[in-house]
């Protein structure tokens, strides 16, 4: 449909196509031109070929020498007075053409960036990702700017930077476990963890719905073991003394993780859709923030819950609660350990950076019901006691500190799909929080968790609260992340809209690729990062494969910086193209000088027969 002068300006380098019949002799104006936003669909429908088309910028003001019909690309042979063009128009130009500015540092302080890939989401049916093409993230680069130098961007940044302020710290003391055994009591001796024999009975007795409970110790040599659907992966950690979650000292065990699996009495997988059960080594994407690392020992429980409760909220919750009895005994043992056994200590500082671009992370967590739920803010890291399910909280936004996130404030009742869900362990090592916290160019003020309710009206209810929450924070930019795909993309889009309409730059992160294409879109969804890692862009049933990783966090941060500094964003292609991501990471890496190593995907795993067939 015809476009306005502003749209024409914005699409000056897109191909010029007549929207309607135009007679010889007229002067081409914006109103004569079709909206480039629908070109992809038109090309797909065979309605349009863009061969030889001049750009909108070239044809405006030119005189048409021949009467042409609608959807006719304007070429040089039917026009007089065409402007000199910088670039030939072709849709493909969007994806690779942009190169990072040679010396972006000279332009701005704050988030400096060159061009960014933009993905246009027309009506939201074909989603595309948007990825910065040449964003800059290097702290060293910015340091070259003298303090107080005039800058084109943030007035605040131009002032003498205020002192960094450490709000609070969190210390994680790591103890190493090399062996897990069963014994008469739960205890830790040196690097050996004993789990009390018969603890299973306590778990069964504790929860009416739990009818059976088995514990298996999976050492690396047993990775090729069949397992029921993995419901959750959790670190073992406990607070020292009276410390609250997110501050003080947390003790944690390295080399071992808790893994919950289960079925109901009838053998039906808990939360089962599709077949995510199988051999562990073929179904786990090692090293993802939410997944086990290779070499770790799993304390794997298999809970059997009352028949038919696998689809009810109480069933999975009972399994998690029973499982926490085991973890809690280990926590108590961990509290007793001698300091001398600490193998490493990590210190997390919640740093505020006044004067820097203030950003917030909004993380959408599932809240549709049943196992689409999360326990928020337990007393112990990833515990159960003291936590409130976000469904019971009405899914409204809950503001937490970044350190609370990293200290396990979310106990995730993870469900489908395995590749894109964020396990409890994911929050414990959340890459976006870590990267944002450590990035000296931005001021991370907090993390907002918001549930994703089932019904649209409730989705919009909570997203409006997100809008006001973020508005009250007075931030310069925001990230919105979600996990998985489905109707949560409706509120994901709405969160972005609510933030965007307040004039706050926002970057969205989700698994999209092919299978998770967004169901809705809006005009604020211009900066998007796709968390996909799978080769084919699908939910590949491999645990945590498509969750948010460091490489995604880096792209999102670079993009938000670019957005906040008003950099233009380029459109990506309509169809999902994984090369966009690698190109952008390369460009980021070129600017920062730091090599970004991409994480592996399912191709690195032993090829299960199912994948062999799927991908070959």
């Amino acid at each position: 449909m015809s476009i306005t002068a502003e749209t024409a300006q914005a699409h000056a380098n897109d191909p010029a196509v007549l929207c309607c019949r135009a007679e010889a002799g007229i002067t081409i104006e914006a109103a004569n031109l079709e909206d480039p936003a629908i070109f992809d669909d038109l090309v797909d429908s065979g309605l349009l070929t863009l061969d030889g088309a001049l750009t909108i910028g070239q044809v405006l003001g030119a005189k048409l020498t021949k009467t042409c019909d609608s959807l006719c690309p304007l070429t040089a042979d039917v026009l007089e007075g065409v402007k000199e063009a910088a670039k030939p128009a072709a849709l493909e130009s969007a994806k690779t053409e942009e190169t990072p500015a040679p010396a972006p540092v000279a332009q701005v302080a704050g988030g400096t960036a060159s061009g960014v890939l933009k993905i246009h989401i027309g009506e939201g049916k074909d989603i595309d990702l948007e990825i910065p093409v040449g964003a800059l993230g290097g702290g060293t680069a910015v340091a070259e700017i003298p303090a107080g130098a005039a800058t084109g961007v943030a007035g605040a940044t131009a002032q003498v930077p205020a002192e960094e302020k450490v709000v609070r710290t969190l210390t994680k003391k790591h103890f190493t476990i090399t062996e897990v055994k069963r014994g008469p009591e739960t205890k830790i001796e040196g690097t050996t963890l004993y789990i009390r024999e018969g603890i299973e009975k306590d778990c069964i007795d504790n929860q009416e719905l739990v009818h059976d409970f088995k514990i298996e110790i999976i050492t690396p040599d047993l990775y090729h073991t069949y397992s029921e659907t993995v419901m959750d992966v959790q670190p073992i950690a406990t607070k020292e003394g009276d410390a609250e979650l997110g501050s003080g000292v947390t003790r944690t065990l390295d080399g071992v993780v808790m893994m919950l699996t289960g079925t109901d009495d009838d053998g039906v997988q808990i939360g089962e859709f599709g077949s995510s059960e199988g051999y562990l080594d073929e179904n786990i994407m090692w090293g993802r923030p939410g997944a086990p690392d290779k070499g770790e020992i799993f304390i794997k429980a298999q809970a059997t819950i009352q028949a038919k409760t696998n689809m009810e909220r109480r069933g999975p919750l009972a399994a998690h609660t029973a499982f926490d009895i085991v973890t809690q005994e280990i926590r108590l043992a961990l509290k007793e350990l001698d300091e001398s056994l600490v193998t490493s200590t990590e210190e997390f500082k919640q740093v505020r950076r006044p004067g820097k671009k203030k950003v917030v992370i909004v993380k959408e967590i599932m809240g549709q019901g049943a196992m689409h739920d999360n326990l928020v803010l337990p007393v112990e890291p990833i515990g159960v006691l003291g936590a409130h399910p976000n469904v019971d909280l009405g899914n409204v936004p809950v503001v937490v500190s970044p350190l609370e996130v990293l200290d396990g404030c979310i106990h995730a009742l993870t469900c489908i799909g395995p590749a894109s869900k964020e396990m409890s362990r994911h929050y414990w090592r959340e890459p976006l929080v870590l990267e944002a916290l450590h990035d000296t160019e931005i001021d991370l003020c907090g993390v907002v968790f918001v549930g994703s309710p089932q019904i649209n009206a409730e989705k919009f209810y909570v997203s409006k609260r997100v809008g006001y929450t973020v508005e009250a924070m007075d931030v310069d930019g925001a990230f919105v992340t979600t996990e998985g795909f489905g109707n949560n993309h409706i509120d994901f889009a709405s969160h972005i809209e609510q933030i965007g309409m307040r004039g706050i730059p926002v970057v969205g992160m989700s698994f999209c690729a092919v299978q998770g294409a967004l169901v809705v879109g809006n005009k604020y969804m211009t900066h998007m990062v796709d968390n996909n890692k799978s080769e084919a862009g699908i939910e590949n049933e491999v645990l945590a494969c498509n969750t948010l990783c460091t490489e995604d966090a880096l792209r999102a941060i670079a993009m938000l910086k670019a957005n906040m500094s008003g950099e233009d964003v380029k459109a990506a292609e309509k169809k999902w193209n994984p090369n966009v991501k690698s190109t952008n990471l390369e460009l980021i890496s070129n600017v920062t000088g730091e090599k970004i190593t991409l994480v592996d995907n399912e191709q690195s795993l032993p090829m299960s027969k199912k994948r062999k067939e799927k991908y070959s």
């Binding site: 009838d266 053998g267 859709f273 059960e277 049943a370 994703s452 089932q454 649209n456």
Partner: protein
């Protein structure tokens, strides 16, 4: 897929509502579909008897081969279900 672009509108009736999923009978006795809640877009509280619609195409076989992984999974599940029901009977 050979016929992947042949999109047809399907309608169904919600016949089961669980806390995490819904079961949908396809109208015209064309089958049954059980999907997680998050794959259902809802403007109203979900009730049995509500009609739903979506676009879909026809499933096509990808190859004549059998995927042993899935066969194993299915066998395993059947066995387990059998065991479970045997156990139940013994208890009774």
């Amino acid at each position: 897929m050979k016929y992947g672009d042949k999109i047809i509108r399907m309608e169904g009736v919600i016949v089961e509502v669980h806390e995490g999923a819904v079961g949908i009978d396809l109208k015209g006795r064309l089958g049954f579909l059980k999907i997680p809640l998050r794959m259902l877009i809802t403007d109203y509280p979900i009730k049995v008897g509500q009609e739903v619609a979506w676009n879909m195409s026809f499933p096509e076989q990808l190859s004549p081969d059998v995927n042993e992984h899935y066969v194993a999974g299915i066998d395993n599940r059947r066995q387990k279900e059998m065991q479970m029901s045997n156990q139940k009977q013994e208890v009774e």
